[in-house]
Amino acid sequence: MAAMNMVQALNSAMDVMLGRDPDVLIFGEDVGYFGGVFRVTDGLQKKYGRERVFDTPITEGGIVALAVGMGAYGLRPIVEIQFADYIYPAMDQLISEAARLRYRSGAEWFAPMTVRAPCGGGIFGGQTHSQSPEALFTHVSGLKTVIPSNPYDAKGLLISAIEDDDPVVFLEPKRLYNGPFGGRPDQPAKSWAGHPDAEVPLEHYRVPLGKANIVRAGQAATVLAYGTMVHVALAAVAECGIDAEVIDLRTLSPVDVETIAASVDKTGRCVIVHEATRFSGYGGELCALVQEHCFYRLEAPIERVAGWDTPYPHAFEWQYFPGPDRVVQALRRVVEA
C-alpha cells in the first residue's frame, strides 16, 4: 500500500503489467524518454527499456494502427493519445478496425489494446484540451469504454483493461490527476493525500470492468456519474443535504445496468451528470436505460446535468463546467417533483 495520486496509480498499473507480461508495451507521443506530458509513463522507459516504452511520431491514427497490427501478432499494446481531443484522426482505426476485428475475422484475430487518453476540462485547456468524447466510443459495438474517478480504481481498472482481450478506450479525467475536485475552483485545490481511495496496493490487483460502484448510499435520489463528476456529485450532495445515492459508473460500456436499476427502483428519482455536451451524449443512453428498467418506479423526470452544447470556452470554463450548483438544482427538482 502506498499513497498515490492518480498519475502515480496509473503509472503503477503499467509498471506492474510491464513487469508481469513481456507482451505488454507502451507507445505514444512523448511517452518514452520524457514520460508523457502528464508524466503518467514517467520512469517506465528507463526501467523497461526503449523497446518496451517508446515515443511515436505525431500520428494518432498511425498509433492505433500499429496497436492493431501488434495485437494481431500477439502483443498487448497500451497506447496514449495525448489528449482525448486528438483522438479523431484515429477514429477509423478504432471503429472500423480495432472494434470490428474479432467479429469480422470470426474471432481469428482481435485487438487486445488499451487506448489511454486524458479527458475533461478544468485546466483552462480551451476547446481542444478539454473534451469528453466518451459517447462516440460507447456507441461503437466492439469497444469498451472506461473512466476512473480515483487512484485505486484507476490502477485496478487500467490493469483490467490491459488484461482484457477487447479494445478498451480508457479515459482519464485530467482534472483528477492530482487531486479530487468537487467543482469549486475558488476553494483551495485538494491533493489525493489522505483520501481513502488514494491508498493503492503496490502489487497487481483488478477492479473489474462493467461494474459500477456505489460511492454514497442514499434513499432520496440516485445520481449517476463518472470521472470528475463523481466528486462534483458528492460535493453537491454534501452541500444540499439531500440523501442521494451516488453511483460511479466506472465502465460506460458495457454498463452495469443492474446496479443502476436497483438504485433507481429504490429511490424513484434520478439525476445523470456528465461533463460532455448534453445533446446525444451518453446521458441519453443512461436516461433510456433507467426509464426502460424503472419506469413504474420513477417519481420524477430524470434530469441530465451536462456540459452545454457548445465547445469548451477558454475564458468561461467555470460557467461551462457542470458544477455542484447545477447538480444541486437538479437534485432539488427531482426530489420536489
Binding site: 508495451l25 523497446e51 511515436t56 511520431p57 500520428t59 491514427g61 498511425g62 494502427a65 500499429l66 496497436a67 492493431v68 497490427g69 501488434m70 495485437g71 494481431a72 501478432y73 500477439g74 502483443l75 484522426p89 477509423d92 482505426q93 472500423s96 478496425e97 476485428l101 474479432r102 467479429y103 469480422r104 475475422s105 470470426g106 474471432a107 481469428e108 484475430w109 482481435f110 459495438s141 466492439g142 469498451k144 482484457d164 482481450d165 477487447d166 462493467g210 458495457p254 445496468v257
Partner: protein, 422 residues
C-alpha cells in the same frame, strides 16, 4: 510572371474516355534487363532512380534477362503458373456464381494475378500478409483450399467467418492472411505494427501489405511509410497500380505527377517499380525487398505496374468510363500468358500441357464449386446459425447482447425465429 495572369483550376482527366480509342503510347517502358539490381543495403537515396523505372525480366522473346533474372527451377515456375491459372479459373467461376444469384457480390483480379502469386512465392511460411480484396492469389499460392474461399463467398454453413463478411473479404490466420477490411488502406499501417511486433520479439518473420493506386491517398499510406521508416520495420509495402480505382484513373491519385514508387523516397524508404505482369520481375523485386527486411535493413516500397482487366466488381461497368479497347491495348500483356510463353521457350512447358492444365483446373474449380454449393449459398442456404451473429462482438458475450439475442428469438438451441419476411 505575368501579373495579369489569373489562376486556373486543373482537374486531371484520363487521356481517353468511352467512345475514343485507347492509347498507351505515352508510357515509357524500359526494356527487360535494362535496370540495375542494387545491393540490398542500398539507401533510398542511392537507388531513387529505380522508383521511376520499371524492372522487367521477361523480354520480347520470352527469355529471362538482366540482373533481376534469377536462376529458378522450372518446377517452381510451374507452381506459380498453376496458382495464377487457378486464381483466374476461380475468379471466373465465382463471378458467374454471383451472376447466378448465389451470392451478393464478387471481385476479380484478372490481369493482376502475378502480383499476388509471385509475391506469395517470394515470401516464407510464417511471413504475414495484409492484403486488399484483390490478392486472392496470395491464398491460392499458399495452397489455401479454394473450397474454404468459396464458402466465405457464399456466406454458407461452412464459412469460417460465420456469414458476417461480404464476399471476398477472406481471413485466414493459418495461411498468414490478415482479415480483409472494407475500409480502404487500413491494413497498410497495421502491417507495420505486425512487423514491429515481430522485431520486438526478435522473431524472423516479416510482414507485407498491399494497397491500390487509388487508396494511396488514404492516411494509412502515409502512416505506414512514416512508421516503417522511423522504426526500420521489416515490412514490404506494395502499391498495386492497376491504373484504375473504380471509375478514376491513376492520375486522380497523383499518378500523373510522379510514380507511386517515388512516394517512398521522401520517407527514406527504398522503392522499386516493377512490371506487375511479369511474374519473374515481381518475384525478383519481392525477394530483394524481403531479404532487406529480414536483414534488419528495414522497409521497401514496391509499385506493381499492372492493369485491372476486369470490372472493379460485379457492381461495376467499366464501359461507362474507359475506352472499350483499353484492356486489349494494355502494353504489358497478360501475366499468365507471359509466364507460359517463357516456360515454353525454355522447354519446360507446351501448349498441349497448358491446355490440359486449363481443363484440369476448370474441372477442379467446378468440382469444388459443387461441394461448396452443397454446403450452402447465400440465396438458398444453409447458412451459419443466425444466433452466432451476437458472438464475437466481444470475447465474452456482454449482457446486453444476450438480452438482444433473446429479443431476436435467437436463443442458441432454441427454434430460430425466421428472418423478417423470409
Amino acid at each position: 510572371m505575368d501579373r495579369d495572369q489569373v489562376l486556373q483550376l486543373h482537374i486531371p482527366e484520363p487521356k481517353h474516355r468511352p467512345g475514343e480509342l485507347a492509347d498507351f503510347s505515352h508510357l515509357r517502358l524500359p526494356l527487360a534487363g535494362e535496370i540495375r539490381r542494387p545491393p540490398i543495403a542500398a539507401s533510398a537515396y542511392e537507388i531513387r532512380d529505380l522508383a521511376y523505372e520499371l524492372i522487367r525480366v521477361l523480354d520480347d522473346e520470352d527469355r529471362a534477362v538482366g540482373p533481376w533474372a534469377q536462376p529458378l527451377e522450372p518446377a517452381f515456375l510451374l507452381r506459380g503458373l498453376r496458382a495464377m491459372m487457378l486464381t483466374r479459373a476461380y475468379d471466373e467461376r465465382m463471378f458467374r456464381a454471383q451472376r447466378q444469384g448465389k451470392t451478393s457480390f464478387y471481385m476479380k483480379c484478372t490481369g493482376e494475378e502475378a502480383v499476388a502469386v509471385a509475391q506469395a512465392c517470394a515470401f516464407e511460411c510464417g511471413d504475414m500478409f495484409f492484403p486488399t480484396y484483390r490478392q486472392q492469389g496470395l491464398l491460392i499460392a499458399r495452397d489455401w483450399p479454394i473450397l474454404d474461399m468459396m464458402c466465405q463467398v457464399y456466406s454458407n454453413s461452412a464459412d469460417r467467418l460465420k456469414g458476417r463478411q461480404m464476399p471476398v473479404f477472406y481471413s485466414s490466420r493459418e495461411a498468414g492472411f490478415f482479415s480483409i477490411s472494407g475500409n480502404l488502406g487500413t491494413q497498410f499501417s497495421q502491417a507495420v505494427g505486425w512487423a514491429m511486433a515481430s522485431a520486438y520479439r526478435h522473431d524472423r518473420h516479416i510482414a507485407s501489405a498491399w494497397i491500390g493506386d487509388g487508396a494511396t491517398a488514404e492516411p494509412d499510406f502515409h502512416y505506414a511509410l512514416t512508421l516503417a521508416a522511423v522504426y526500420h520495420a521489416p515490412v514490404v509495402l506494395n502499391v498495386v497500380n492497376n491504373q484504375w480505382a473504380i471509375s478514376c484513373y491513376q492520375g486522380m491519385a497523383g499518378g500523373d505527377e510522379s510514380t507511386f514508387a517515388s512516394r517512398g523516397i521522401g520517407y527514406g524508404v527504398p522503392a522499386l517499380r516493377v512490371d506487375g505482369n511479369d511474374f519473374l520481375a515481381v518475384y525478383a523485386a519481392t525477394r530483394w525487398a524481403a531479404e532487406r527486411a529480414r536483414s534488419n535493413l528495414g522497409p521497401t516500397l514496391i509499385e506493381h505496374f499492372t492493369y485491372r482487366a476486369a470490372a472493379h466488381s460485379t457492381s461495376d461497368d467499366p464501359g461507362r468510363y474507359r475506352p472499350q479497347d483499353e484492356s486489349a491495348k494494355w502494353p504489358l500483356g497478360d501475366p499468365i500468358e507471359r509466364l507460359k510463353r517463357h516456360l515454353v521457350a525454355i522447354g519446360a512447358w507446351s501448349d498441349a500441357q497448358h491446355a490440359a492444365l486449363v481443363a484440369e483446373l476448370d474441372e477442379t474449380v467446378r468440382e469444388t464449386g459443387r461441394r461448396a454449393e452443397a454446403l450452402g449459398t447465400l440465396n438458398a442456404g444453409p447458412l451459419p446459425d443466425p444466433a452466432s451473429m451476437f458472438e464475437d462482438v466481444y470475447k465474452e458475450m456482454q449482457p446486453h447482447l444476450k438480452r438482444q439475442r433473446r429479443e431476436a428469438g435467437l436463443e442458441p438451441g432454441g427454434t430460430p425465429r425466421p428472418a423478417e419476411g423470409a
